[in-house]
């Protein structure tokens, strides 16, 4: 796929990101001068939207907090309606390097959805405990579902090709964790091809991830429940296809 750089939209879901946002946006605009940058302010209580506007990028302002899935869907819907070919999602906290975006976009030649994977050998990124176990389990299951080596399915650094854009602008799951894990099941249902590109990450600027045992356990069980429900759905969907 030959991508016209002016038809690429960089989508940043942002919730109370006033600290990191100006730096992140400046970097993005410098690295990708031809792309359109869109910040989706997910009902922030601070002036995230105003700060984004001041940086000269486009801003969608959700009237209340919808979660990452909802913010993504709003951005994808806009991109789809305005005829963009490619949407690249990245975090507004500066974890993801803009220099890596062209590599993600290039990989869309072979896949509909490309994940920028943190554990694929590039850079250093360390997660421990139950969370790490959950992530490994998810990666193993999703690799099997998609017959493709996927090592980091919870990454918020992804590129959507035209087919993924069409599907996800309406079917992106909106629940907690749904935007990453369940989205991959939806992608499978929609017969999208999913691949990954190893990327290096930076330490997130502000906001420390929690390592409390209780929270980790809660995370693990939520992941488990969601995964089982999503797989049941996938199995049922397959049966229906066979019948039809």
């Amino acid at each position: 796929m030959d991508v016209d750089p002016t038809r690429v939209l960089v989508l940043l879901p942002a919730y109370n990101e006033r600290e990191a946002l100006p730096g992140v946006l400046a970097e993005l605009v410098e690295a990708l001068p031809d792309a359109t940058v869109l910040v989706v302010d997910d009902g922030s209580s601070d002036d995230t939207a105003a700060i984004a506007r001041a940086s000269g990028v486009r801003v969608l302002e959700l009237p209340f907090n919808l979660g990452v899935g909802g913010a993504l869907r709003a951005g994808l819907l806009l991109a789809q309606r305005e005829g963009f070919d490619v949407v690249v999602q990245c975090d507004a906290d500066g974890q993801h390097r803009p220099e890596e975006i062209p590599r993600l976009v290039a990989a869309l030649e072979h896949h509909d959805l490309v994940i920028g994977a943190r554990f694929a050998g590039e850079g250093e990124y360390d997660v421990r405990g139950a969370r790490a176990a959950a992530m490994r389990l998810l990666a193993a299951v999703m690799s099997r579902v998609h017959h493709q080596r996927l090592t980091d399915v919870t990454s918020g650094f992804r590129a959507f090709g035209p087919r993924a854009l069409l599907l996800m602008s309406t079917d992106m799951p909106r629940e907690y964790l749904g935007d990453t894990v369940e989205a991959l099941i939806v992608a499978k249902e929609g017969r999208l091809s999913v691949g990954q590109v190893p990327v290096a990450m930076r330490v997130r600027q502000g906001g420390v991830p929690s390592h409390q045992a209780f929270r980790s356990a809660l995370y693990l069980s939520r992941v488990g429940v969601m995964l089982v429900l999503a797989l049941i759905r996938l199995a049922r969907g397959r049966r229906k296809v066979v019948v039809a």
Binding site: R58, V59, E61, L62, P63, L66, R73, A74, L78, R174
Partner: protein
């Protein structure tokens, strides 16, 4: 006060409350119907206590009150599930609206 009279009073109160809520448009008719059916059933049970016993025997319960508890729990469970389902639909629609509003607002700001 006998339990029959008590149940009858509750039924009448529920009917009155439901009718009032419908009249003041705080309850949609489609939800009101359910509660009216429930309270009418309750009233019938209060007026004809033998009906409860007959139903209980039919379902194979030894103690009629167990049958009542079971039926009440089952009904509440179903109602709750249905409400959760409706809520899911409403949340989905609400999200779509929020997305559309955000897109429209951006378009308007760009034009103005």
């Amino acid at each position: 006060m006998s339990p029959e009279i008590f149940a009858g009073l509750v039924a009448v109160l529920v009917v009155a409350l439901v009718l009032r809520l419908v009249a003041s448009r705080r309850l949609l008719v489609k939800y009101a119907v359910l509660w009216l059916v429930v309270s009418v059933t309750l009233a019938v049970m209060a007026i004809i206590p033998d009906s409860v016993e007959a139903l209980s025997d039919l379902a194979g319960f030894e103690v009629p009150s167990n049958f009542l508890f079971f039926a009440a729990l089952g009904l509440l469970l179903c109602v709750n599930l249905q409400v959760s389902r409706e809520l899911t639909t409403v949340e989905r629609q609400l999200q779509r609206l929020a997305e559309e509003i955000a897109i429209l607002r951006e378009k308007q700001d760009g034009a103005g």
